[in-house]
Homo-oligomer: 190 residues x 2
């Protein structure tokens, strides 16, 4: 169901305001969804990895934009086709509801995080989630520090400092700037 499509680095997948005719599933790569605020800042809503769905909308228009962070293979599914199938096939309907719930949950947790947690806690939580979603030993930070900062509502320097502090506390180790290992035990002890 749907057709695969390749997006290059920083290529737009959909824009805020466009009518939401498709939903998307990451096959390979990494996607960010974001909005540009009126004051010039950028708000990165979420990152998506292989097997994640994105582009779900309640209304008929996208309220955020999406871009590929790395070259990414994306399954593009016609929304109408999906809702039609969901109307008759209970399994499809359930699946659709499930991925919508995942998304809702993510949004709610994230806004709680931003409201209640300090900069260091936000970064630690972000890495924790990354690790959970990746399950491999090493975690690739496919997104830039700026992406992370805009996601956590922090300045890029603050993100950087938080990372070095976590390394000093042996909660993470840098292999390269963009590739780390996460030591869950020490991370949660922060």
């Amino acid at each position: 169901m749907g057709t695969e499509k390749l997006f290059s680095r920083n290529e737009k997948i959909f824009r805020k305001g466009q009518s939401a005719r498709h939903i998307y599933k990451v096959k390979l790569g990494c996607i960010r969804t974001y909005a540009n605020l009126s004051d010039g800042r950028r708000l990165v809503s979420a990152f998506y990895f292989p097997r994640n769905y994105f582009g779900l909308e309640v209304r008929d228009k996208h309220i955020i934009s999406a871009e590929a962070i790395t070259p990414s293979m994306v399954l593009v599914i016609r929304r109408q086709a999906l809702t039609l199938r969901a109307a008759t096939d209970i399994a499809v309907a359930k699946h659709l509801l499930a991925i919508t719930n995942v998304e809702l949950q993510r949004a709610q947790n994230h806004s709680l995080l931003l409201r209640n947690k300090s900069a260091h806690e936000r970064v630690a939580h972000f890495l924790f989630e990354l690790k959970k979603r990746n399950r491999r030993k090493e975690v690739d930070l496919l997104m830039s520090r700026q992406d992370i900062a805009d996601h956590l509502n922090l300045k890029i320097e603050t993100v950087s400092r938080a990372l070095t502090r976590l390394e000093k506390k042996s909660a993470i180790s840098f292999l390269t700037h963009r590739r780390i290992t996460v030591h869950i035990r020490q991370l949660l002890a922060t």
Copy 2:
């Protein structure tokens, strides 16, 4: 439609977790909805004044609690009765949708406010909204400083300082601690 009920100061109207069998309309007084966070803090979601509806829920359980701030007269409407009428009466259905949208809008604006604005801006915005909803010359601060603080995610001292600063800038004048006049022009110039 519905029955009027009188609630005394600080009396609970519904609790988090209760099944949401009713929706409510303020006739007289002032209501707060709130949640107690796991860390002991309290989060005041919103204040409701005469003609406002509250207690709307998407699911079947209340996710927040509600209390009367001052002695309040409240119209209690059976939810089932309302949705039944909405099923046949388009006007009722539209009305229901409208008040739900007001609520959604309020929630979205509020979380934007908390994310982007400084303490002083939050307090100024709060007073601005109060004034808009009140339309009278004087504005009664029926809620305590603590209520305001918990609504704006600030400490009580910060709220107090913001208020005195606004007075110094002639954006507001105190008649008493709980009764002020708001000078919109100067308030927006902040």
